[in-house]
Every structure is written in structure tokens, then in C-alpha cells.
């Protein structure tokens, strides 16, 4: 089959654009600086979520929020941007706390990794590194949130 275009033209163009984006700082990753930043994003009309409690992962990549009624929302880094979405109970496939992470010394200051699998994002995983106690609390919150 004869192609209407020499594929080297668009392929070379793609390579050139990506190289320039890479060279000009296009690898920046967004991070949540503070709970207030996550709360502000959630409060935008598109999400309209009034956070009463927020936990931000130690690496700033993800935050979980709970409103007064117990509903959960998530703020997450998507490349250089942050995004916010509600995380209804029916859309959460699995919530697991990996207590072995960073817990070699067995002290109470150890962190835990809370892994949330959401079907809403075609099975996207969210990983939050929190204090062990906080991770256990959020695991309970996620499992107990109203339908």
C-alpha cells in the first residue's frame, strides 16, 4: 500500500520537538507543597470538594482528603500538573497498607505505604507514604466512606 507521506518527516519532527522539550526543562514533576494547596484545588467548582482533613504523601506526589460526611477525594501529580478527583467508594478496587516499608527498626516513627487501586482511572494506583498510624487511619476512612 502506497503511503501518502514519507513517514520520516513526521517521525523526525517528533524527535526534534521532544528533544527540545527535554532540553528546555520539560521533565518537571508537580508536587503538593502543603495541604492548603490540595484543599484549594479540591475546592474548585469542577470538583467542589470541601476538605475537612487532608494527608499529603511525604514525597508530595499524592494527597487524600476527607469531607465532613466522610467522602474521599484524591489530589495527584500528573506530570507537571496537579489533578483532583473524587474517589467514590464504588470506584476504589483495593486499599492496602504495606507496613514493611521503612519499618526495619520497628520504631513508631516508621512510615507506611498506602496503595489505592482505583478502577475510575482504568486501574490507576495511588501510593502515599504516610506515618504508619496515619496510613491505618486513611485505610479505615477509605473502607468506611459512605456509598
Amino acid at each position: 500500500m502506497e503511503l501518502p507521506l514519507d513517514p520520516t518527516v513526521p517521525l523526525a519532527g517528533i524527535a526534534l520537538i521532544l528533544l527540545l522539550v527535554w532540553l528546555t526543562g520539560g521533565r518537571h514533576r508537580a508536587a503538593i507543597a502543603a495541604p492548603a494547596e490540595a484543599a484549594a484545588l479540591l475546592a474548585l467548582p469542577e470538583t467542589g470538594f470541601a476538605a475537612a482533613e487532608i494527608a499529603v504523601s511525604r514525597d508530595g506526589s499524592t494527597a487524600l482528603a476527607r469531607d465532613a460526611a466522610g467522602h474521599i477525594a484524591v489530589v495527584f501529580g500528573s506530570g507537571a500538573r496537579l489533578a483532583a478527583r473524587r474517589l467514590p467508594r464504588g470506584e476504589v478496587v483495593q486499599v492496602a497498607v504495606d507496613r514493611d516499608a521503612d519499618q526495619a527498626d520497628g520504631t513508631t516513627t516508621a512510615t507506611a505505604t498506602l496503595c489505592i487501586r482505583s478502577t475510575a482511572f482504568t486501574h490507576r494506583d495511588f501510593v502515599l507514604r504516610l506515618d504508619a498510624a496515619a496510613a491505618a487511619d486513611w485505610q479505615r476512612h477509605l473502607q468506611a466512606q459512605p456509598a
Partner: protein
């Protein structure tokens, strides 16, 4: 199989505007990357750009695969044409407006009904707004039958080759308006033509801007049919979709809404619900609580918090 020279614009000696414009697409994108860097404006991101360009490349491939079917459809409709329109510059000028009118309604349909939104959503899935976003084109639109909307033009008597040529012209026109580097153009131009400012509004998720400015080349259709919203500098655009997918995987970008449709159809309790999930507005829920754009806008206007979503 019919060769490329016997169908499309080539059959009447015209070039394919999109193919012709590819070097310009690359050159302008390169320029925008450099200008954005010079202005210290974080317009581009590597993964996002890679995803957009991959979407564009695969879109070209699907266009080649569907070209025969679409060409046959246009030819079949042309056999039943109402008028014999000669191949003149006047016919092309009439087609410039007629095709743009069809594009407006195709675009409005693609935002208002989930079946076609599933094919179009990928174009809105980037949280960035730059020239690479323009190339984040559909993979499944022809599968969803969007090409059928252009058949009435052939029925009216516009030569199929000219229709395909004009579709390309429209696509090329819409490339340069995907930028934040141009703020406003002269007032007369903003009044008549689709511009970067008007199209930024179209890509924004702010409730005030949702589902506005469907125009292709001429913004007059939005002004005429009540879907126009001017960009307000006091309310910067937030790009993306209401439920951002958080993925740069082209397969997820292309198919996530289709996956959502299948999931919803499987849980539908009646034919009415199934029809709602398929043909209702994006975000539709059987109990009426879904975060559709109309509902988000109404909530925003009333100063209420959304109740679902």
C-alpha cells in the same frame, strides 16, 4: 484497492492540506517551545508532548485506513446530489462556510453525547494547552461514524474531493489556535474567526467555560447558536477534562471513555439507562445527579457546591 491519487483532493489536482502542513506543524511547535522557554512559561512537558504527538501520528494512520470507506460514502451521496456545483472558487467559498457549519455541529454533538465524546475526549485530555495539543487527535471518531455528518454536503452537490480538501484546510487552520503564546488578535478578527483566545475557553474546565466555543474556523456559529463565551482574563483557563485521567499512555487516552461506557452499560438496569449512558451528556447518571456540564454550570451560577461526581 483504489490508489491515493484517484481519491481525495488528489483526484482533482489539489494537495492534501494536512500532509502539506506537517513541516509547518513541526516548525511552529519548535518555535513555541523556544518562545515559551524564553518567557519562562511552562507550556510543554515531555510525557504530555510525547503522548500528544503519538496520538497525532496514529490518527494519520487511521485516516489512511478509513479513507476508502469515507470516500465511498461521499461518492455514493454525491450520486444523489440535489445540485451540480461547478468546481470553481465560488463553490469553494460556499463550501468554506458550509463545511465549517457542519464542523460546528459535529463538534457540538461530540461534546453533548457520550458516544461521540468517547471519541473526542482524547483531544481534551491534556492539562496543557500548546500546539502539540492540537495534534492529540482522535483514533476512534471514524469508527463512531462522525464522518457521516459530512455526507449532506455531497448530497447538496459539493464535489467529494473538495469536501475532503476543505476538511484538511479546517484542520490546518485549527492547529495554530492551540497556543497560550498569543493573547488577543485585532477585535475584527476575534469577532469573526476562531482564535487562540476563543479556543482556550473551549479547552477549559472552568464551569463558566465548559462546552463553549465549538467553532472550527468561524466563531460566528457560536455567536449565532448561543454557545459563545469570551475569555475573561480575571478567570484563567484550567485545561483538561472535569475528571482528569492522569495518564500519558496513548492507549488509555484513546480508550478510557470507551472502557467507562462498557462498564456503565454492564450495570445498566434498563434500556432507558443504557441509552442514557450511551447517548446522554458526558457525566450523565440515571438519578440525574451526574456532573454534566449543564449541571456544573448551573451549580456554579447558583453558587452551589456540586452534589455528585
Amino acid at each position: 484497492m483504489t490508489g491515493p491519487e484517484s481519491m481525495g483532493p488528489a483526484s482533482i489536482g489539489l494537495p492534501d492540506p494536512v500532509i502539506l502542513a506537517i513541516p509547518a506543524f513541526v516548525g511552529l511547535a519548535v518555535l513555541e517551545v523556544l518562545v515559551a522557554r524564553w518567557r519562562r512559561h511552562p507550556a510543554y512537558e515531555l510525557k504530555d508532548t510525547a503522548a500528544s504527538l503519538t496520538m497525532g501520528l496514529v490518527n494519520l494512520v487511521q485516516a489512511v485506513l478509513f479513507a476508502g470507506l469515507i470516500w465511498s460514502g461521499l461518492q455514493a451521496a454525491y450520486q444523489w446530489r440535489l445540485f451540480d456545483l461547478p468546481l470553481t472558487v465560488w463553490t469553494w467559498l460556499a463550501l468554506l462556510f458550509a463545511e465549517d457549519f457542519v464542523y460546528y455541529w459535529f463538534h457540538r454533538l461530540s461534546h453533548r453525547h457520550r458516544l461521540w465524546w468517547a471519541a473526542h475526549v482524547n483531544h481534551h485530555s491534556s492539562q496543557h494547552y500548546n500546539l502539540s495539543t492540537a495534534l492529540r487527535q482522535h483514533w476512534t471518531g471514524n469508527f463512531a461514524g462522525i464522518w457521516l455528518l459530512w455526507l449532506p454536503l455531497a448530497l447538496l452537490g459539493f464535489p467529494p474531493a473538495l469536501i475532503v480538501f476543505q476538511q484538511g484546510v479546517s484542520l490546518v487552520y485549527q492547529f495554530w489556535i492551540h497556543t497560550e503564546q498569543i493573547r488577543r488578535l485585532p477585535r475584527w478578527f476575534e469577532a469573526v474567526f476562531n482564535t487562540p483566545s476563543h479556543h482556550r475557553v473551549h479547552h477549559a474546565t472552568n464551569p463558566r467555560y465548559l462546552d463553549r466555543n465549538y467553532a472550527g474556523i468561524f466563531i460566528i456559529w457560536d455567536r449565532l447558536f448561543g454557545s459563545f463565551e469570551a475569555e475573561d482574563d480575571a478567570e484563567p483557563c484550567r485545561y483538561g477534562i472535569v475528571k482528569n485521567i492522569g495518564s500519558f499512555n496513548p492507549l488509555r487516552i484513546a480508550f478510557h471513555e470507551w472502557v467507562g461506557i462498557v462498564r456503565d452499560l454492564r450495570r445498566a438496569r434498563s434500556w432507558r439507562e443504557a441509552a442514557g449512558y450511551l447517548f446522554g451528556p458526558p457525566g450523565w447518571l440515571p438519578d440525574g445527579s451526574g456532573p454534566t456540564s449543564d449541571r456544573l454550570r448551573a451549580d456554579w451560577l447558583a453558587g452551589r457546591k456540586p452534589t455528585a461526581g
